[in-house]
Symmetry: C2
Subunit: 500 residues, 2 copies
């Protein structure tokens, strides 16, 4: 029976290597590729992805997964071997349920959708994008049908990003969260506005980059295993446990973009570098889910990077880098400045208190148009009404409203909730780890992050994708994803800052 | 029958895409990869190369190539279709002749050989490298046996780098060349030494890079289709006709390294960018051979970049970049300086007049140890005796002698001759093109390279790997590779410079 598993493992190694090749090709495309290389690269990516799909859905793979069932029963159900088989079987079953015709049409709709979204956004005209969005929504509704029976039509979509998570669970979490966040924002709005204009002075790129590197090196970002480049849209690409790459965007007129972006991507990279070496070259050498991944980036960005403890250590260093900009700004003022709450139209620029409301708005609209109760043609109007209701704002145009995010044009419907879940998870994990290490704040004040990273490594990172997200969170914290820690955190932090 | 060809073409497209993925992975490994990514990357490269090998040697491929024979007969023998089938059949036949056992052992010997060569070179101890070299030579001799009958045991090795070329041809070319080059060098040695110490002043990296970019942009290096990076060992990686990449090494204490290295790699890249779009995603979207590739790099580096005409245009610009270093050096002195002939121990630093002698030495030794008439253990001694005979020099140690080049450790036996053949070819093509365009020199003096590039594009580049090198050269110049143009060029150029 070992021989069969070895044969299976060898095939998995090959698929995992192709995944990694795909990662290098994608990273290179965004960071290095000359403009005219796009067509050739498109073909190469298509071929690699086709090979991965063929291998994962081959009759040979199906037979192996069937034959491995008795081996599975003889092993520890939590062993790497059994978990790898289960994970692969899930992939096999999901992929073989979907028709080849659908896969082709969807790939085309994504490509056409993205380029037309770009044009529509540039023209700020939702109607230009509408026919492409309608096509994508139709395809996504058809996709859900492959997975009948389901509890909710949105379930199969959500499951692609957050394995095992149900629409009902997300709805219930958000139902608890929404009134408390809305209430908090209302209370903040009655307080005097924080002045953070000092963040919007001229901050030269070179010094911004240097300071970012100083911070993430302290976090444990090791340049023997990682690198940093510049790109328009910051992202992280993990390749293997010796090679993870982040990109950073620097805004020379605003300190926040580069600073918090660097910490955010560093959090993703540290996760990628922390998977157990025993999972290398398998499909389990990956994050447990999009939400768990986001919990890691948000933890380093917000729980660490926007905390007073962190700045007690780093603020004098930042002032030394930018004496003319920050020399006369004291620590408390700076801390308040980077934590200013102000409802805004753009999700990626939102503060911690308002961010999740942007997500809830998108989730509600997604569920409605997938259910069919909201027609795509009415989406721009629905968006504007909802953002008025939640944040009291009216988008001046579609580019700053319904067209602001790329996700729907790429077919990423079911993705948005993971951003909010990641926020919740980051605090849920933080409560757990700071309970176990009560001197965490004192350590951060001294610029020591080793025990934090060690805790994340041994409790979260090492498992890779062995466990589904809810199982993993329960294993670590004793409960599934829970909005209460996040609510407690937000209320405490902003009550202090705003003296509520 | 079209359907069969289409099926074949689709498989070729896939193989070509995998080749391109391999190219991106290799380039990234040398330019970007963090050190600890090496192990994971090794597996990915292994998997991709295995897939390429499997596809090219599959029974399905064999059957298609058999079935395509009648289609071939119905087509123009010079059509892209027929040439692609022929090229692929050659690959199929070569690869299927070799045993799987040999492929595995050879891959291992290459990996182990390279790392032990590095160590032996660092210790300057040939004996440390000897057992690994013996293994590689044994494997290469075994490789030749797969291709029996052959005219010469070295033929199958040479054929891997220079398709269709025979050992007897190379020997005959070098037999003509050697005495004339030796005689020229002797004559030069009796003349006063040229003083080129001004090339060895401090030349800041930034300005060196800027000047290099200025030059290659004039050559036609288009940054929408190409990029330049720094690396320890300069190289060119062509990916597709919209994406070719060169790397450059700058020596801040010597102007020649970066300057001529940049033009050299640019020549390779222009070739890669010039393949016919109709050959895209096929195995013919590649250079005709290593020698033809080298002819392109050497032409831009030497025929253009070391010519007086070139410097009439560019020298004032170089002086403006480096006024303190070159302000008092006149054009003639500079031109003589960059063309100084001085026998040296290291091939990659050799001037135009002595370079080929380095190659001949290696070729003779390669032939002897592959024939078995020279034992690997006697190689260091044989090297030193031969370089004394040819260049009058004695290496102070093995690092500056027999261990200087990586090639043998990587199993690249049969590769060296292509460097000399490339030199010959560069001049053979130059004679032809300047015969057709008699105002070439005047154009270069004005910094105009468009008609030169156009000629190379339409006569050389566009064909890619459609024709074997000798066939291509005959097509273009009317004769096979011929040493006479090179001899004429060398004698004329250096007689003028050295007043012989």
């Amino acid at each position: 029976m070992d021989t069969l598993f070895e044969k299976f493992k060898k095939k998995i190694n090959q698929i995992s290597d192709l995944n990694q090749a795909n990662g290098v090709l994608g990273w290179d495309q965004q960071v290095n590729m000359p403009a005219d290389g796009a067509e050739g690269r498109g073909y190469v990516l298509g071929t690699i992805q086709e090979l991965i799909h063929e291998e994962l859905t081959s009759p040979e793979m199906g037979q192996m997964l069937e034959d491995l069932k008795s081996f599975e029963k003889s092993q520890d159900p939590d062993s790497d071997e059994v978990r790898l088989i289960k994970f692969t079987r899930r992939q096999y079953e999901k992929r073989t349920k979907v028709s080849t015709r659908w896969v082709g049409e969807y790939a085309m709709a994504q490509t056409v959708g993205e380029s037309n979204w770009e044009k529509a956004k540039a023209a700020s005209d939702f109607k230009m994008f509408l026919p492409y969005l309608e096509k994508i929504i139709d395809l996504k509704r058809e996709y859900a049908e492959f997975f009948k029976p389901y509890d909710h039509v949105y379930d199969p979509l959500l499951d692609d990003f957050e394995p095992g998570m149900k629409t009902a669970e997300v709805k219930s979490i958000f139902k608890t969260l929404r009134p408390r966040q809305v209430e908090l924002i209302k209370a903040i709005n009655q307080k005097p506005e924080i002045d953070n204009r000092f963040l919007y002075l001229e901050y030269p790129e070179k010094e911004q980059l240097e300071f970012g590197v100083e911070v993430i090196k302290k976090f444990g970002f090791d340049f023997n295993k990682a690198r940093q480049d510049k790109s328009v849209h910051p992202f992280t690409q993990g390749l293997n446990i010796g090679d993870a790459r982040i990109t950073t965007r620097i805004d020379p007129g605003y300190l926040g973009t580069g600073l918090f972006g660097t910490m955010h991507e560093c959090g993703h990279a540290l996760y990628e570098l922390g998977y157990s070496p025993k999972l290398a070259r398998t499909l389990l050498s990956d994050g447990a889910s999009y939400a768990v991944h986001e919990s890691q980036s948000r933890m380093w960005e917000n729980l660490v990077g926007r905390s007073l403890a962190f700045w007690k250590y780093f603020y004098p260093k930042l002032q030394a880098k930018f004496p003319s900009q920050l020399g006369n700004v004291d620590l408390k003022t700076f801390y308040k400045g980077i934590n200013k709450v102000a409802p805004s139209l753009i999700r990626v620029e939102a503060d911690e208190a308002t961010y999740n409301l942007h997500i809830m708005l998108r989730l509600e609209l997604e569920i409605e148009f997938i259910e069919g109760s909201l027609k795509p043609k009415d989406l721009s109007e629905a968006w504007n009404a909802r953002i008025k209701e939640y944040l009291g704002l009216t988008p001046p145009n579609d580019a700053k409203g319904v067209l602001q995010d790329v996700h729907w044009s790429s077919g990423y419907i079911g993705y948005f909730p993971t951003y909010a879940l990641g926020n919740l998870l980051s605090v849920q994990l933080w409560e757990k780890l700071s309970g176990e290490m009560p001197d965490m704040e004192q350590r951060i004040e001294k610029g020591e992050f080793g025990n934090l990273l060690h805790w994340l490594r041994t409790n979260v990172h090492v498992h890779g994708a062995k466990f589904e997200p809810q199982e993993l969170i329960r294993k670590i914290t004793g409960s599934p994803i829970d909005p209460q820690p996040y609510i407690r955190y937000l209320e405490k932090k902003f009550s202090e800052i705003y003296k509520i």
